[in-house]
């Protein structure tokens, strides 16, 4: 085994927003820094590649934010989406730190713009990256390179040498063989295990084979697993992941944002047997989209079909795949390789149950069904105007909740609750501390930037002592 010639003060494992914020802040604090990104250069950055905004508290409107977003309001939002599954102290601390991040991130070369078309509801709370997440990454990498941070791609960490809560070295896969990398301190910012189908199967069983992964295939959680195995405190529900229903025609990995479908509320959703299985109009879509991944995962073959008619086609953001189209419900079933009479029957039963109402997709309107189970509580309109359309959907996994425990310094906690000697964590790998359940747009990036910046600074300080 070869040992690396140069030993760094801070070793950052990972290559996304949290990792780069940590690397930059450690370097700015005077430390020598090495970043090991497991992905090739094009795929660098993990889930950050697919992000587009971050949620930071601010006291007044800015050039790109339409109004104030107080710390208390942010905290209330977090409590609501997590249903209280959060470390309140750490969450309040993160929210207060997010105010500075609003200035710090642009100082690292990232540019903000007003909210994107189609996301106007976030214009007050969320800062959007000009050009999206990959543009943000490009800016952070450029800044890190200019500061003299060493960066290696295709550098998958296969082992960690940890003794008594002290990180000693990491082993990296290398063309010639495994390579030892030593450093005074470690920042783990290597994300979750959403792309690790084998691991997902431990909790979901064989259905996990049919899951689509919305990010790159490199989010395998190997670093997370090694840390937990070597005595770091585990946090968050290991069985849970953020799963939404995405277009079934999406690639297995890295389909990103453009495979999303926002049309469940406009039609009905049936499984392979042409049966409806959940109230499509239970609540407004932003509050319900995140349950549909799990709902579809529970259906046979983990597939479902959103069926709607011509009257709804232009009511939602276009997706990257055109809907499957037919002139009759029977033909549509044929296109989908479903039982024609079964689908016709389901649609007819649904249509007969629709009560008259005034359709308004901006509120919880009074268009609902009566006498069927499950009901459709809002936006229920008869599916009767050809052409008829369908989108096949499968569970799309965005991220996992399992992580490492940390304190306010982003220092990892060991199983006994004691702070680790020289190990820090930032980003999705520790997000479960703050976000134990649910999701609010842009919060993953807030966690990454806030704790990345702190982890880098504290690791640099730790390396000096």
């Amino acid at each position: 085994m070869e040992a690396s010639e140069k030993s760094h003060d801070v070793l950052v494992i990972g290559g996304g927003n949290a990792a780069l914020c940590a690397a930059i802040s450690a370097r700015r604090a005077g430390a020598s820094v090495l970043v090991l990104e497991g992905a090739p250069k094009f795929y660098r950055g993990g889930n950050t590649r697919h992000t587009r905004n971050m949620r930071c508290a601010h006291d007044s409107a800015t050039e790109t934010l339409s109004g104030p977003y107080s710390e208390d309001e942010f905290f209330d939002d977090l409590m609501r989406v997590t249903q209280g599954h959060t470390d309140e102290d750490l969450a309040r601390f993160m929210i207060s730190q997010s105010k500075e991040i609003l200035n710090w991130i642009p100082e690292q070369g990232v540019r903000f713009q007003p909210s994107l078309g189609g996301t106007l509801s976030l214009g007050r709370t969320n800062s959007f990256f000009l050009g999206g997440g990959r543009s943000m990454l490009n800016a952070l990498y450029l800044t890190a390179e200019k500061l003299g941070v060493d960066i290696r791609y295709d550098a998958e960490v296969t082992d960690l040498d940890i003794e008594d809560s002290m990180f000693l070295s990491a082993t990296v896969k290398n063309g010639a063989g495994p390579e030892f990398i030593r450093a005074r301190t470690l920042v783990a910012a290597a994300g979750g295990f959403e792309a690790n189908i084998e691991w997902l199967k431990e909790y979901w069983g064989p259905p996990a084979e049919n899951f689509l992964i919305r990010g790159t295939p490199y989010n395998r959680g190997t670093v997370l697993k090694m840390l937990i195995e070597r005595g770091v405190q585990e946090i968050g529900d290991p069985t849970q992941c953020h799963a939404v229903a995405i277009d079934a025609r999406a690639p297995k990995f890295d389909g990103g944002i453009i495979t999303r479908l926002d049309c469940v509320v406009f039609g009905i959703v049936v499984n392979r047997n042409c049966e409806r299985f959940y109230d499509e109009g239970e609540d407004i879509w932003p509050k319900r989209y995140a349950i549909w991944g799990r709902l579809v995962a529970a259906q046979p073959d983990q597939i479902a079909y959103i069926v709607f008619d011509a009257s709804s086609l232009k009511l939602f953001m276009p997706s990257c795949f055109p809907p499957i189209e037919a002139q009759s419900i029977g033909d549509l079933a044929g296109e989908l390789e479903l039982d024609s009479s079964a689908l016709e029957n389901t649609v007819a039963t649904f249509n007969a149950a629709v009560r008259p109402g005034t359709f308004d997709d901006k509120i919880l309107d009074d268009c609902r069904t009566e006498g069927i189970s499950p009901p459709k509580s809002h936006w229920a309109r008869r599916i009767e105007t050809p052409p008829f359309y369908a989108y096949p959907v499968r569970p799309g996994i965005t991220f996992t909740y399992l992580g490492t425990g940390v304190n306010r310094d982003a220092r990892m906690l060991m199983k006994d609750g004691k702070p680790a000697g020289n190990m820090f964590a930032a980003g999705e790998i520790m997000a479960g501390n703050v976000l134990g359940r649910g999701y609010a747009a842009g919060i993953g990036m807030t966690i990454g930037s806030v704790f990345g910046r702190i982890a880098g600074r504290e690791a640099a300080k730790n390396a000096r002592n």
Binding site: L120, D254, P322
Partner: protein, 397 residues
Amino acid sequence: MPATESAHVTMPHASATLAEADRLMTLCNSCRYCEGLCAVFPAMEMRRAFPDGDLNYLANLCHGCGACYFDCQFAPPHEFNVNVPRVLAKARADSYATYTWPRALAPMFARNGLAISLVAALCVAAFILGFVGVQDRSVLFGVNTGPGAFFKLMPHRTMVILFGAAFIYALVAMAMEMLIFWRDIGEPRQTLTRSGPLLDAVRDTFRLRYLEGGKMGCFNEDERPTDRRRIYHHLTFYGFLLCFAATCVASVYHYLGREAPYAWYEPPVILGTIGGIGLLIGPAGLLAAKFYRDPDMLDKPRRGMDIAFIAMLFLTSLTGLALLVLRSGPAMGILLAIHLGFVFAFFITMPYGKFVHGLYRFAALIRYAKESRARHNPDVPVVAASAAVTGQGGSRP
């Protein structure tokens, strides 16, 4: 199912490039992360379907700043293979041939580099031969100075008729081409009569607003925003305008009875010299940038067209400056013939080379300015409704 096939195109297109442009715009329209970078993406968002006319409009609206390529999570090697700068560059170059007037000259764009070189060589040769054939050796190779020196070699009237005719022809041809473009994108003529969009377009052109990458800077070689093409284009564009101004001022001088050549401190020479220097540095910079450009973004078969146009600007300027420096010596006669040959060739090839990019882009900017104003003014109906207005979409990962 490969994504490139399943994200299929739902309407017929005139070419594979336009079909690919449709695929990309449909895909980009479901992402929209790039909407702050330039005009193309906001214009795209105002549409749900992309017929050829609209794609040609978008292609000519694209300045090739490269930001969307390096910002895109779906750019190659990703299987979605989203390469907007390259595909729109191809569609743009194709559109130049489609709009050629007269139609019979469309093949000029097939191997444009060769065609332009041949025309230039023929023009230069014709002027040299003409000078040699018409003039006495002692005049051609003699030292001619003082007012009217150039016109000893070629009478002013002949020069005006020859170059006036060439220039007027170019203007007529380009006006026709612009009209064909305007009709193809389906924009009514009235748009051209509204001062607001026109002024917006002039402002965006003179500033080259869409070579700013949304203020982040432009991309050419790699993911670093180190591109200098905007500066080089400014040098070229304003250099060209200064040279044009020099010619106009000189004409006025002539009819006021003051004949060329003029002293170095006179306005025609000052304007021409500054403009000429811009026309050396600008094109040289643009040419270098072409060679450094990430090959993935290039429409490689069309590089000849770009190089020919850049070379024509450069050589016209170089021969003009050489004439200025050496005009009091015996080389003046031949240099004048060469310079006039390049200027003539430049004029007559204007409608059949890269020069037309400015026309179509300016026209596209006018349409965009109109659409953009309508979008921000709720009283005016927008081209196509976007889902941005519904309360259901958007706010999620």
